[in-house]
Amino acid sequence: MKRWAAGPARVAIVLLVVFAVVGCGGGGGVLTLDRIGREDAPKTMTLQLNNSYTHQSSTPTWADGFERLFTKFAEDHPDWKLELKIVPDEQSTQAQARLLEQARAGRAPDCANVDSFVVAQFIEQDALQPMDEYFDQEEIDGLFPFVKDVVVGDDGKLYAYWWATDLRLLYRRSDLVPEAPRTWDELIRAAQEAEQKDSKVDGYLFNGGRWEGTVFDNLAHFWSQGGELVDGQGKPIFHEGQNREYMLNTMEFLKEAVDSGASPERVATIKDYSEFESAAQAGTVAMFQGGDFQYPPLEESLPPEEFKKWEVSFIPTMNQGDLQRTGTGGWTMGAFSDDPEKVEMCAEFTKEVYVGEGNQVTGQLPTNPEIFEQEKKFQDPIYDTFREGLKEGEARPGVPVYPEISNQLQIAIGTVLTGEATPEEALDEAADASMAAYEQQSN
């Protein structure tokens, strides 16, 4: 194998390069470990980025892509050097809390990756600078509605540019489930039928373990009934009035999926999207609720004749004709600096590196339908489905209490799935804990 033979030689070369880079502490190129641009450039901007979105990404194709984009940017803007502060993706919640704290103390970086779901909170705290002057009106107007809702403040100004997003969908093997199920009942029935057709498969897999994805994915079921997690003040209301019923319906549906045998008990342990890919590869799953981002790896890892069987549809709803909803997340760029020149630079960087080009590198979905048409990467017809789906996108509420609500709902779903608690008990506990956290935060 060519790959196999090339290994050792590449290791040797890379080692040399690594030691050269480390050895001379950065050197004088336009792109180093911690700088974009020449060291002697007159103007400086500090820039905080997620590890994934840099030339040091752990995904080689991303690293190569951003290296190219960063280099080009540096060459196009010789007057500037951008000093990089790279934060690990895994520390996202912590890093965002820290960023807000720094912004308050006036020590935030000039420009930074801001998680889409904390943007609202940052706007409310006056941490971000408006960027609309530096974007064309079409670039703002063209954004998907759920994107605009978040990044445009109450004053109508654009406070951050959301450039990458994703959505959740139902994947199914069409040989086992020919028709896309549209309701929860249809989903469970289809899962059971699939299990009868092939005794090896689990009918329906979903995230049910102790992690953010569990809440993020399953919120679609709650939202599609019209549920809301928090009110206008950011107070948890998912346990009150109609919302209570919606949330109980959601939990009962998940419980029913397990009790009916449509889903195996182990869904309570699934805390990683790649579980679904494993199961697909092992040929032991008929349907799963996953992300758009799983489509390319599925295509890559399954034999073509197997991959052909997989189809994608929207997430089933409780009743036919309910709203179609899907959870969307992703990353924005925001400016913290008071200096208009730096805000402009931040906007330029966003446009030239991330919007469009960055989507092309990462395969993460654009936030503007227009870009779906422009970029080569998104010409596959599957992206039409994704684009359609994004119209029904809903972002998680960007309030300080959300991480705790999520934590509590993860626990609730877990205890319901393992039968430790009834949906009512689990919801009451989650509500109490979330309210306590909210009250304490709003002191």
């Binding site: 194998m1 790959r3 196999w4 290994g7 050792p8 590449r10 290791v11 890379v14 080692l15 390069v17 690594v18 030691f19 880079v21 480390v22 470990l33 911690d34 590890n51 994934s52 040091q56 990404s57 752990s58 995904t59 080689p60 991303w62 690293a63 502060k85 790279i86 934060v87 690990p88 993706d89 895994e90 520390q91 912590q94 890093a95 820290r98 994703d166 994805g213 990683d272 999207y273 790649s274 890919e277 494993s278 590869q281 092992a282 992300g291 981002f293 790896p297 890559e300 890892s301 990462t362 395969g363 993460q364």
Partner: protein, 280 residues
């Protein structure tokens, strides 16, 4: 049963223990190695085959290719060295005092120091974060190393006291009669005598520091400062791209330095441990 038969049974038992230990401890390690030479396509194919169909060194290349990896290793090395050397410097005189000097509360004090060991780093690191933040010392190797020292000091003091106890007091008293001060005797006579003890304390504390997680997790955020125990998270990829294979390669590379140190020095360490501290 004859003596020889008994030996045979003993040997068989020994290997039986080895066999089960090999399964339990070796199995997951082998699996880690196996993962580290898999392609993305093969991570998910779980069958009992250890060597994948298309073994590759690509993952190791990826890890080394991200220039950060060597930075992480270097940071771990720096922090582990600073922490363990610092701990030795601080605890050697204290251990000497506990071993040689009679003063009120000697025992109580020693127990107090050991008791500190029971305070979790997680407990102290949170206020330290705020405190360092005010002093602008967050994201600094200096402040992090100081915390490492503090965490390692109780263990180091306890071990070194054992070693000092193993040196007959007559030796330093003789030196003092010859005109040395106590400090002089400590430095020129006693310390060199417990060199093996210093080394084993050093290695043990360095390995503990190498694996420290909570302290750097809270106090450091810049990748250029992270030790490998945290930096390894960067190789986990994100949910859009699973890279367990790359992470496995990183894990293998991350434990090599610590294992190498131990394998090279292990005879020495074990001898040193047996000669002093353990007798207590």
């Amino acid at each position: 049963m004859g003596r020889r038969a008994q030996r045979r049974v003993g040997d068989a038992m020994t290997y039986l223990v080895f066999f089960f230990a090999l399964l339990f401890f070796g199995g997951p390690l082998l699996w880690l190695l196996s993962l580290s030479i898999r392609t993305q396509q093969e991570i998910f194919i779980t069958s009992l085959r250890l060597i994948p169909e298309n073994p590759t060194f690509e993952n190791y290349t990826e890890v080394l290719y991200t220039a950060q990896f060597s930075v992480f290793l270097l940071n771990s090395l720096k922090l582990a060295l600073a922490g363990s050397i610092g701990a030795l410097v601080v605890s050697a005189p204290a251990a000497y005092a506990f071993s040689r000097l009679t003063f009120r509360g000697n025992k109580l004090f020693l127990i107090g120091v050991l008791g500190l060991q029971m305070i979790s780093p997680l407990v102290v690191v949170i206020p330290l974060y705020r405190y360092f933040d005010r002093l602008n010392l967050v994201d600094s190797h200096f402040s992090t190393a100081m915390v490492y020292i503090a965490i390692l000091v109780p263990l180091a003091t306890w071990m070194l006291k054992g070693f000092f106890d193993g040196v007959p007091p007559a030796l330093d008293e003789a030196a003092m009669v010859d005109g040395c001060t106590r400090f002089g005797a400590f430095r020129r006579v006693t310390l060199p005598l417990i060199l093996p003890g210093l080394t084993s304390t050093f290695v043990l504390t360095a390995i503990l520091a190498w694996g420290e997680f909570v302290v750097p997790y809270v106090l450091l955020s810049e990748p250029s400062l992270l030790p490998i125990s945290i930096g390894i998270l960067n190789f986990q990829g994100n949910y859009a791209s699973n890279s367990t294979n790359v992470l496995a390669a990183g894990g293998v590379l991350a434990m090599l330095p610590a294992i190498a140190t131990f394998v090279i020095l292990q005879r020495f360490i074990v001898r040193a441990l047996t000669s002093g501290a353990i007798k207590g």
